[in-house]
């Protein structure tokens, strides 16, 4: 055995040195980034619906640009998760793209509702799909599995791929009530965990059909015109505003009791003219 028993040798000292260096750099750098704040830095967390998420995040970004020492953490996860979080106290504001259910009202009786925007749910297909208009019954039949080929709707002879949301989604819940009339979805429906995921999947899959909040529409997907009793209605901010679009709902933020502190400041900002302008920028309908 060569005389290297008690000397750790090159790897050990090297690595300990590297670790210490890394630690030092991390601590030094983290000290340089926005952490030199006064004692009363306020933090709140906002969680829930991925439909409301862009509004919540954009408003939070704008608010934080003005108030440099407040922190608003925004995350997604679904309306169900949002209401549960604010009810249990693990978040300060719960975002939901549906109204609170009777069950939840029973469990969390002290939640207060604030309507921050109005949104439509657009049914989307791939831009190359020749089918551009559907009735509410046809949409329901597709999601029930009764219509499974585009040719039955005047399109190509291809199987329909229904894409939907997961169980925590307020968008899904609202779609379930307003379009499905509480009848069951077909079991081969793909379940994705956000509006963004649905949009991405439909944009990549020529035979897919999905539903997303209005704010997620862009030119990678085609919004289906809804045939309401013979009249075609295009999903847009105007048609939601004048109530001609049949699939529309209020977007809510729930708080535990009446809001105070940073929660109140944030909500007031969101309901102000500037906040509502942010709502409109994100593709939603401002509350009157």
């Amino acid at each position: 055995m060569t005389g290297s028993v008690n000397k750790p040798g090159f790897p050990l000292t090297y690595c300990v040195g590297a670790a210490v260096l890394l630690l030092a750099i991390t601590l030094f750098v983290s000290g340089c980034v926005g952490n030199d704040s006064p004692e009363e830095r306020r933090t709140i967390s906002v969680t829930g619906s991925t439909t409301v998420l862009p509004v919540g995040q954009a408003a939070a970004d704008a608010y934080m640009d003005i108030h440099l020492y407040d922190e608003i953490l925004v995350s997604g996860g679904g309306s169900g998760g949002g209401i549960k979080a604010v009810g249990e106290g693990t978040a300060d504001i719960g975002m939901a793209s549906r109204d609170i259910s009777a069950n939840e009202k029973q469990q969390y009786p002290t939640l207060v509702e604030h309507v921050v925007a109005v949104d439509g749910i657009a049914v989307i297909v791939h831009p190359s799909n020749p089918v551009t208009t559907l009735t509410m019954d046809e949409i329901k039949a597709i999601y029930k599995g009764e219509i499974s080929n585009w040719k039955d709707l005047g399109g190509q002879d291809r199987s329909i791929v229904p894409v939907g949301r997961d169980s925590a989604s307020g968008t899904r819940e609202f779609f379930y009530e307003a379009v499905m009339h509480k009848e069951e979805f077909v079991r081969t429906q793909q379940e994705l965990n956000s509006n963004g995921a649905v949009k991405q999947t439909v944009a990549q899959t020529p035979d897919a059909i999905g539903y997303v909040g209005l704010g997620y529409l862009d030119n990678t997907v085609a919004a289906v015109t809804i045939d309401v009793n013979g009249k075609p209605v295009v999903p847009s901010i105007e048609s939601v505003k004048n109530k001609s679009y049949p699939i529309a709902r209020g977007l809510n933020m729930y708080t535990q009791g009446q809001p105070s502190g940073l929660v109140k400041d944030y909500l007031d900002f969101l309901m102000s003219a500037e906040g509502q302008r942010i709502v409109a920028d994100q593709g939603f309908v401002p509350v009157q």
Partner: protein, 648 residues
Amino acid sequence: MNKMNDHSSSLSNPAGISRQKKERVITGIWLATALVAVFTIILILGFLLKEGLPALLEVGLREFLFEEIWTPTSVVPSYGILSLIVGTLLVTFGAMVIAVPLGIGSAIFIAEIAPRSVREAIKPAIELLAGIPSVVYGFFGLVVLTNWLRITFDLSSGATWLAGSIILGIMALPTIVSVSEDAITSVPQEYRAASLALGATRWQTITGVIIPAALSGITAAVILGMGRAIGETMAVLMVTGNAAVIPDPLWNILSPVRTLTATLGIEVGEVAIGSMHYHALFAVALVLLLIALIINLSATLILGRIRDSQMGTGKPPILTHEVKEKVKAVCLWLAMILLTGAFAAISGPGGALLFIGAIGTYLLIQRITTPKITEKIAFGMVTAATGLVLFTLFVILFDIVSNGLPAITWEFLTEGPRDLGRSGGIFPAIIGTIYLVIGAIAIALPIGVGAAIYLNEYTLEGKMTKIIRTGNDLLNGTPSIVFGLFGFAFLVIFVGLGVSLLAGQITLALMVLPTIIRTSEEALKSVPDSLRHGSLALGATRWHTISRVVLPAAAPGILTGTILSIGRAAGETAPLLFTAVVFSKRFLPDSVFEPVMALPYHLFILATNVPGAETQKYGTALVLLILVSSIYAVAGLMRRHAQKTVRW
């Protein structure tokens, strides 16, 4: 093996008595750390049982396991997980079909056929495959593979069983390749020499002598790979479509499926705590743990049997030669039928006929060719297998690097995220990942090394060590999502830490603990007893010997294991999903009780939730890849250095 009594405590030596007390205290400490692994597995099992039992009782074990319909949120909820179990099994089976031939073929190539320079180049490349985080695989699968499948097979959607199996196969490959390759190279040269001397070709030597001799190692490799595939969450979650159906017909590899792990990953985050759905998810975790346990146990059993049959311990083999031949024949027929079905599913009867034709041609050729020609063909196929593996690595790396490089700007690396991550940077995520990893290692390293010291230095093999080792093996085989679930239910909710850095660190620590214990044990074992005996003979106490002689000598091995664990901890998403992470956070955390951003989670959310963030996605994937790869590269370098300098 090294249990000499400490004779330094003679009654006439008062200093010796306090020394003995100190020794006892230290022994106690290490015993306590060794018990942590057992304690953790008991805690995890206990918690899962406590939370999962209400669902099993309410729904009934039979309905739960054998009903197909999983709709926990409909008006009349249904909690049957048969389609989920089938999904897990099918995806794993498909992954093994891909990974085992390619893996063993590559291992043979590296060990037996490749010249040294090629071998030196290929081995690190395959280990690089092991270092790629699962969320990066999922991302690649989501963006590239499903699209390619959809176009190639003219499907409605590429999110299929096949996509899941391909990705899992690629993820299991490095494990199978490196463990098999180790097993093959450790077959003594005499075997090869004897076989060649008898006139066998190299290929006949490989198939007839070397592989059977290395069988236990290869079996271990396959089972480890299978464990990896079964426990994987993020990648399958992103590519299989998550439709809880049983493919109809069963061999339709182009049908979407959902695995047990994906169900946990999707639904735990939003479930209402205390509801029946919540309990049902814990029951799912129990089933998952049970499957992992069965695999572990059968691995130990099979390996034991193989070892017995090879070393002639006198136990009669359960499979006689005729039975083995019959089983082989049955397996081959089954494989043929299944593969024919697969080809039929993809390209109709034409494809199936082609496949049968190919098999027929192969059998015919075998009859009329000489061993030399067979060897050439076989070597060609094996080289092709390795080439395919390397090609896959190249494709993945190229895709990520080429799309990700444009995103790497100074702003990207030093700013926080803005506009849902579509602009700005990922700095808090980088720091969050570093914090998480440092915390996890700070917790796991002392406990892991302590447990290894206890197991190796302080006890004889007995009941206690067997229990501790079994506990450790169980912990090792536990899927990472189960750790996440446990962390959520226990640390976040029960202990009340909330979604916090600390909860994430503890969860990650528990996840890497078995690896650290195992690698530390191996390192300690490799220190020869003569060193210990010499030190004790000079009058040192046991702890003195360990701390001054054994540990420094074992340090390189321990450090390699630590660094590998760092790499794993940095890349994992599932344990963090519900315990530590938030999507966007402007300030860095002030305390360990705040949530953090983390690179793998950020990539996951960008890839699945945020449209229009193309460059940011690839940029995050690239940064994560570079971070984890450099950690693994350092580990590899250190291991090579240690192998050169430590000479006994």
